[in-house]
Symmetry: C2
Subunit: 531 residues, 2 copies
């Protein structure tokens, strides 16, 4: 069963290897485990609902509890402490667009707040109900998860918005297709959520971001349904899909999604290469991106992340052998691990691999074959489970992400890591910080930074530390030409920083659209556009 | 000097070859040349301006005349007949964003209509002033044509909005870069115009449409400047660039454009292949697109266009030899010409060519080497000049374009060609119609249809025939799942059909944005959103 207070199915456990615990202990001190509340304790705290009965709405305490929080670190602290804050007054599970419209009409009639809910994997506070006079109805789309139609000639598939990653891929693969969209949250996150929050998958280099995959569909708004027909491309005025992408529930509820799919590739292989140091590694990955070598994935860990990954991998003897081999070939203490994939026809893959190897060798890259690449592919959705292992060992882990132009990557990365590393210095606490670049473009790339810190003995302390770190890092990002999010969206946590990049005029235009579609401000108030 | 009543520089003349004239005569009858008005005659008709003097505004009759019309067929009929309709009351030539803002303030103060003007190449009525009580000021951006900055690491260039194709490319090539955006109007059309009308270049397969090239910039609005910083990608809410792309002057005046550029490629070659018939040709081009073979250009003429091109090419002896060669290899009367390009590194180009040849051979493709491809590349911007040759011979030519999903290409193409071919049947007139597909995507492609008809002895008759053909074709497009424009924009000519694809809700949202940015409706009224 899905965990009520953490990530994924409770049958999957990922523990922190002993070697990894020692590594962290040496870096930031002994872990400080916090005590978890039990489900029974939390259920006892769920208040009475303010909603009347409705045939499609569950007022059940456990349903409400299970839809109250996402997966951000503050969400974890809330769930683990049992101090959830606000619960929705009810959860609806519509099965058709018609039922979504009925529920919206009911919300208008009863003066409710509505929160569209996909997989509940937000790490930015998209789906958390807030205190207020209006009752809150969460609208879970999980039952609208079917593949409705495939246009085989045009490679277009139509889905319900609630299909999660495995539901999308299994229904497509049965017919020989793939969407190719694999965010780390893939096991739980949904198509509608990807569209609403502008998701990016690990193989976006081949398949594109959700912006490129989203061909059309329907948004149910309080002004009526916005129907988006699909065209391969159009010059017929502003692209209305772009109002839905990133709308984060503020303009309406996505009731149908048409996506661009691909035939399953002939072949796919992932490789790992070690570059001797960060300057050469950065130059190499930029060159690969700008030379348009047709790869399907590129991920470059900085030296600290490379060391951390090797430490947390377990198997210390095998890692020692690998390190010896790499050192002999010039990749020593500052080495950076680059993972890349080729996907497609065998002829094209061979040509891509040849180009990539040639270019990487010119920067001192040492190839290690396909073993580490295979490991990456096997474990690509495993990281969120590792949070449990770290939690049990008494360490808190969070991630941040942004994107910036190549000319600014080094500056932003250094400042961002420093803002976190030194963020708790006045409390005498060390923070372990590391980064990888995982989505590359001609213009620049994403930066994905992980930080590990100690909770400080109490939930209150843990949250206060997170707030300081998150604020310092967010401020650092927007003050240094980064976007406040490359792939997680804005939600509530990033909303205070959004105006720096959108500008006063941009924020006003988005507000004008929100008022146009939802004059009563019923949909996810406070998300995206701060109140 | 640039022609005042036609396309391009008056030093370039393209005549219709004798063989081509016979070909058209046989198909639709003898040409019927119309008499042209002279510049003096038209200048005498320019009325007095309603504007007071302003240091940046020209009230000169010839300036006003030269900014009154675009390049659509009705524009040609207006210019050639001398019956221009409405002239702008003045033309401003700002040199800075500050001057644009001053002119906008002046327009507000004096209650003027403002028409942003790039290269004046619109074929959909974007820049034509209309009758009305408010004086009309056309805002030409031609003096803001400089390359302002290059970020070499991020491959981003910042330009003034008025740089035309040659100005963009010459300033970039001097430093080893290219934008790679080559619409057929390239010699005259401008960066700001490409953004405002969502242009697509002939090599969009490699470089992307203007939507992918436009990284950011500034839109001067009546609510203040909308600044769009550039990020490689972002999940920070709806993408505001998409409000500027396709805004067609309705939301503001583009004062600066940041674009994604590329290093000049190592190598580039174009090839011509003949497919034996349309069904196999269509399947071949779809397969190439969906297999993601990294080509830089794909253009497939249907059988009628192939015949027409070979007839209009001149050199009948050489063409006869080619036809003999092709017939021996199976490409006879129904053959379709496919031109494709490879651009990039030599290793990649070789791999792409190998994949393309293999795939095309499996559909019966006959390769003819690089001669016809070279010819295409040499003549790629020449077609608009041929309108003069056809005009002199007494034939009118116009083009239409749309895009649709692959599963619908054949249906739409057949209906679209029929709507034009039979469009003047009740007058006993034949219309010569042919089509190519020139922008391909995984989901579908663009259709670019050319039609040639006789003016019927008078300008009034010529215009009436055009209106009937244009309406029939536009209706056919939107009623058959085509977009009203793939690359030319909406303007006034397509505005009446836009609501079919945008829907009532979409049109209302766009109007809400127009009112938000320009509450007095001063900017290009009637363009994009019908009045």
């Amino acid at each position: 069963m899905r965990r009520w207070n953490g990530w994924g199915e409770d049958t999957t456990e990922v523990e922190l290897p002993a070697h990894g615990a020692e590594f962290l202990h040496a870096l930031i001190g002994a872990g400080e485990p916090l005590a978890d509340a039990t489900l029974e304790q939390v259920l006892a705290r769920v208040p009475a609902s303010r909603l009347p009965a409705h045939p499609q709405v569950s007022l059940d305490a456990e349903d409400r509890l299970r839809h109250a929080r996402g997966q951000s670190l503050p969400d974890w602290l809330a769930m683990r402490s049992g101090d959830f804050g606000v619960f929705p007054d009810g959860v609806a599970f519509p099965e058709t667009a018609g039922q979504i419209r009925e529920l919206m009409a009911w919300a208008a009639e009863r003066d409710l707040v509505l929160i569209p809910y996909g997989g509940g994997t937000s790490v930015a506070g998209h789906i958390n109900p807030q205190h207020g006079e209006r009752p809150v109805l969460t609208l879970s789309l999980e039952r609208m998860n079917s593949l409705l139609e495939i246009d085989a000639a045009s490679l277009i598939a139509t889905f319900g918005p609630g299909a999660n990653g495995p539901q999308v891929e299994s229904q497509l693969r049965a017919q020989g297709y793939t969407l190719g969209h694999f965010p780390q949250s893939w096991e739980l996150s949904t198509l509608g959520g990807w569209v609403a929050a502008r998701s990016s998958g690990q193989q976006s280099l081949r398949y594109g971001r959700i912006e490129q995959l989203f061909a059309g569909g329907t948004l149910e708004t309080f002004a009526g349904p916005l129907q988006l027909p699909s065209f391969p491309a159009s010059a017929a005025g502003p692209d209305l899909r772009e109002m839905v992408l990133g709308s984060e529930g503020r303009f309406g509820v996505i009731s149908e999604v048409r996506v661009r799919i691909s035939r399953l590739p002939d072949a796919e292989t992932f490789y790992a290469v070690f570059l001797p140091d960060w300057p050469r590694a950065l130059e190499a990955i930029r060159s690969l991106a700008q030379a348009r070598v047709p790869l399907s994935m590129l991920r470059l860990s900085n030296a600290i992340e490379t060391r951390t990954q090797l430490a947390l991998a377990g198997h210390p003897e095998q890692i020692a052998l690998l390190e010896k081999y790499l050192a002999l070939r010039g990749a020593r203490g500052d080495k950076c691990m680059l993972t890349f994939g080729v996907t497609g026809s065998r002829v094209q893959n061979a040509a891509s691999l040849r180009q990539a190897r040639k270019l990487l060798r010119s920067f001192g890259g040492v190839f290690t074959g396909t073993l580490l690449g295979r490991k990456w592919a096997q474990n690509r959705f495993r990281f969120p489970y590792l949070r449990h292992g770290l939690w049990s060992a008494g360490y808190l882990v969070d991630t941040l992400e942004t994107a910036t132009d190549w000319s600014n990557v080094d500056t932003l990365l250094n400042r961002l890591e420093a803002s976190l590393r030194d963020g708790l210095a006045d409390a005498g606490e060390r923070v372990h910080v590391f980064t990888h670049l995982s989505h590359v473009y001609g213009e620049g790339c994403s930066l994905y930074t992980t930080y590990v810190y100690r909770p400080g003995g109490s939930y209150a302390q843990a949250l206060e530390r997170w707030q300081r770190l998150k604020h310092a890092a967010s401020r650092c990002i927007v003050d240094n030409r980064g976007t406040i999010s490359h792939q997680h969206g804005v939600g509530r946590d990033h909303a205070p920083y959004l105006a720096v990049e959108k500008g006063e005029r941009g924020m006003a235009a988005l507000r004008a659209l929100a008022v146009h579609f939802d004059p009563e401000g019923r949909l996810a108030p406070g998300v995206l556009l701060p109140e």
